[in-house]
């Protein structure tokens, strides 16, 4: 559902900067929108996290995926069933950077004989890893545009990433990987009936949007060269808060930039918040110290209970006849 709608939205988003450059709105596209989008991005994320954080975590509900800590002669799993802050951090690192839980994925197939087979299925994990890590490295590479001298970490990533370049043609491996990752994520969403059935317009929209960013970037780098010096001048002027818009950077750059702005502004209000969400997810970020340390529920309130006195009041006679001790001697 919503594939067409999402595509249409992307076309519109591409048209805006395209027409904007025609109309001479480079300043709006190159300065106003980026500032606006970045502000929305930062404030939006903070707002959402604060919003989540305002609700308490009344109960300690980690999903335990390993042996608990009990006897010292039974080996506990300190990460998948953590009891220490360090264990929780390790668990979160595994989740955040390596998508541990997604790596557990398998596929159920019921054979003709009626047996359930659990089939190896790490493709989703692999595509997710490819996409997220490539996207991350690409973002790091872009930092060179914002500083006069390229920081060593950025050049390091560039060199690693550009390892496969040949001759005078530079080529970044991540440009390819990000597209492969995205393509797989999109195709599986369209092809796997279960996923397609539940997918919303928003799910396609972000995929198309990020694909739009990737394609416009790739176009700019390898085919329709934009004026890199101009881009860098603009970028540095933006971070210095003295925006200058060089002339004739090229429409393709403004399309790329506008889509990035759209992504930044959309981010806080969408499912893209899954990253920060994972950080705050109580089933993952809590230690299973449940019986060791009391967890406090800030809104714990007294409830109506059935007391022993009421119980004995009702059953005292039969209890006495059965020889059970009573609190009230009558």
């Amino acid at each position: 559902m919503g594939v067409g709608f999402s595509l249409l939205m992307i076309v519109l988003l591409v048209l805006i900067p395209f027409l904007g450059v025609y109309a001479g709105l480079e300043y709006v596209l190159g300065v106003v929108f980026p500032y606006l989008a970045f502000s929305i991005f930062i404030i939006g994320i903070l707002y959402r996290i604060i919003c989540w954080g305002r609700s308490p975590v009344p109960f300690r509900i980690p999903t335990t995926c390993g042996q608990q800590k009990s006897h010292d002669w039974i080996k506990a799993d300190p990460v998948e069933n953590p009891t220490t802050a360090f264990g929780v951090i390790l668990r979160m690192v595994k989740e955040l950077f390596f998508f541990r839980s997604l790596f557990r994925n398998n596929k159920v197939k019921i054979t003709e004989k009626g047996h359930i087979a659990y089939i190896w299925e790490k493709w989703l994990w692999l595509a997710a890893i490819l996409f997220h890590w490539s996207f991350f490295i690409i973002i790091i590479r872009h930092l060179r545009l914002f500083t006069p001298k390229t920081p060593w970490l950025v050049s390091f990533f560039e060199r690693m990433d550009g390892f496969f370049g040949f001759g005078m043609y530079s080529f970044y491996f991540t440009d390819l990987l990000v597209v492969i990752g995205l393509a797989y994520l999109l195709i599986r969403r369209l092809v796997i009936p279960m996923v397609r059935y539940v997918s919303l317009a928003a799910d396609y929209f972000v995929l198309f949007l990020i694909m739009g960013i990737a394609f416009s970037g790739i176009l700019m780098k390898y085919f329709v060269r934009a004026d890199v010096a101009g881009v860098k001048e603009l970028a540095m002027s933006l971070v210095a808060f003295k925006p200058v818009v060089p002339v004739d950077i090229g429409s393709i750059f403004y399309i790329h930039l506008f889509l990035v702005c759209a992504l930044l502004a959309y981010f806080p209000f969408s499912k893209l918040m899954h990253g920060p969400g994972l950080l705050l997810s109580p089933t993952r970020n809590m230690a299973n110290t449940n019986r060791m340390k009391r967890h406090i529920n800030p809104w714990n309130y007294p409830v109506k209970v059935h007391t022993y006195e009421e119980y004995e009041e009702e059953f005292g006679k039969v209890m006495q006849a059965a020889g059970l001790p009573l609190d009230k001697q009558s």
Partner: protein, 540 residues
């Protein structure tokens, strides 16, 4: 099971999705797949809203006039109270990793049983009411209006989730459908929409002390009969005490263990063990239920029932509490009890009087799981065991959902099993430990009217048992959950005939060589089945 299709034709082998999108997809209350509506007398007994006679098949559910307001206000309140709910409403990316992890989806093929769609049933309303995108864009943003049809759909599907948390193991963000189901059921409860089975159990438990409503004198009688059976089999008279003040330990087991076959054999195992080690313990008729069906109604109801454990421990002046083999009981004890009804500052940190082991992992809650207790005894060589007495069994072990995914008790029961029987085989890796499959009847769905869905939901578990039956000749499915002991036997009869179900402490009771038995030779196991090749010698 007459209306139930034959096992070989129940489950379809392909997952097919309907053409129409799910937003307004119709569904019907088909016999065997839904729970009966709650009886008004239980509403009255428990001070729950909207008591009336109703059935899910009725056109008019007689909801309160301002039901929409109540429900939305309830949702808003819970969003403010539970960070989990807020995050789980917002962060799902619909990647579908959870889809075929749900036993109900595997067994029914119904798309609304895929965890991410089950959650969308609630999320779509959340988006409509509480997000800008949902308000403006409606359906395109995955939002839909709250109608009575939605309430009915929630009732149908949130009572087709056993809160087993398997999907949350696979979710890259840890989204826990159990949390969503618990809260959705709470919301339905605000309108007086509950299931009869659950409320009947809760109202029994609240007033009488246990789910089945066994009054105190009958508990004494029932357990006395189990003691007679033990005497017949072993020649040893065990004498449990009830409501005794000053005992060192309060022992609380799920009531299923003393009133129904095959749980009773597990209970006999407990009693024999305690007698053998001379544990100073008492049972309680007031807190005669370890289980807590309140968990399947609301957080509040869970607290109301659970309060009895600490209250009784305090009244009797015991030092600590020992808990029997039960699944959701241990979810409540491990994740909620101390927070809800603690602090247990009137108790002491549990120490095994036999081995001197201090159970540091329970130093705040002060309640020990019986497999923790018994594995410690075995490790310290405090028990004389003859595992040959279980030789007629080829055993496998079913990790019950809650001890697995809400505690992480994996090795303790396995250690006991490996010491009390000689034929133990694990089921396939994807179906045990944290990836274990539910029995299909958890979270208050173990009633007769729901039988077809229970057989569907239990299919993946049964299928794994079938695998070890075919491969190793397994004939005994052991577990540490009373609901399992009630639910798995019909499941086995349906899918894997020839496999029986037992608790871990039944196996222990069989193997336990009691001092007071003297030279007497046991002729039968706890089920009264003759012991064959063991013969006369019982030396280990």
């Amino acid at each position: 099971m007459s209306s139930l299709p034959k096992a070989d034709s129940l489950v379809s082998k392909k997952f097919k999705m309907p053409k129409k999108n799910w937003f307004n997809a119709p569904f019907e209350f088909k016999k065997g797949t839904y729970n009966y509506g709650s009886n008004p007398k239980h509403h009255v007994a428990l001070d729950l809203p909207n008591p009336r006679n109703w059935s899910p098949e009725d056109q008019d559910w007689q909801l309160p006039e301002n039901w929409k307001e109540i429900l939305l206000e309830g949702l808003r309140e819970r969003l403010d109270k539970y960070r989990s709910l807020k995050i789980f409403m917002d962060v799902c990316v619909r990647c579908g990793a959870c889809a075929d992890k749900c036993h109900f989806f595997i067994g029914s093929g119904d798309p609304k049983n895929m965890p991410f769609l089950r959650a969308e049933l609630l999320r779509s309303i959340y988006r409509r009411e509480y997000t800008k995108a949902g308000k403006i864009m409606g359906k395109l943003a995955g939002a839909r209006d709250l109608t009575e049809e939605v309430v009915k759909e929630w009732f149908y599907y949130f009572f087709q989730c056993t809160e087993c948390r398997r999907c949350s193991v696979f979710c890259p963000f840890g989204i826990d459908t159990a949390e969503i189901t618990i809260i959705a059921r709470e919301l339905l409860g605000l309108l007086g929409v509950n299931t009869d089975w659950t409320l009947a159990s809760v109202s029994n438990c609240f007033r009488v002390g246990n789910h089945v409503g066994i009054p105190p004198h009958a508990i004494v009688d029932t357990i006395d009969m189990l003691c007679d059976d033990i005497e017949d089999i072993t020649g040893v008279r065990v004498n449990p005490t009830f409501n005794r003040k000053g005992a060192e330990v309060l022992f609380i087991a799920p009531s299923g263990d003393f009133f129904a076959d095959p749980g009773i054999y597990t209970f006999m195992g407990y009693l024999m063990l305690f007698h053998e080690i001379g544990l100073d313990y008492t049972l309680s008729t007031y807190a005669s239920e370890g289980g807590n069906f309140g968990l399947f109604v609301s957080h509040e109801m869970m607290k109301r029932l659970n309060a009895k454990m600490y209250a009784e421990a305090k009244r009797l002046g015991v030092k600590w509490i020992l808990g029997g083999e039960c699944g959701h009981m241990w979810r409540v004890v491990n994740q909620y009890m101390d927070t809800m009804n603690g602090p247990a500052d009137f108790l002491e940190v549990p120490v095994s009087p036999i081995t001197g082991t201090r159970f540091e992992n329970t130093k705040s809650t002060k309640m020990v799981h019986i497999t923790e207790f018994t594995s410690d005894l075995i490790k310290h060589n405090k028990l004389k065991l003859d595992p040959r007495r279980n030789d007629q069994y080829k055993v496998t072990f079913h990790d019950s959902c809650n001890p697995a995914r809400a505690m992480g008790i994996f090795e303790e029961p396995r250690y006991i099993i490996k010491n009390v029987c000689r034929n133990f085989y694990e089921m396939p890796e994807n179906t045990i430990r944290e990836k274990t499959f539910c029995c299909g009847s958890g979270s208050g769905l173990n009633n007769d009217e729901f039988l077809e869905m229970r057989m569907r939901g239990g299919f993946p578990r049964a299928n794994a048992v079938k695998y070890v039956q075919e491969k190793h000749g397994v004939n005994m499915l052991s577990c540490i959950c009373a609901l399992d002991r009630a639910a798995l036997p019909p499941l086995m009869d349906y899918w894997v005939p020839g496999v029986e179900v037992c608790g871990v402490h039944e196996l222990l009771g069989n193997a336990l060589v009691m001092k007071d038995e003297g030279d007497r030779v046991r002729e039968t196991n706890l089920r009264g089945e003759p012991l064959e090749e063991v013969g006369g010698e019982q030396d280990v």
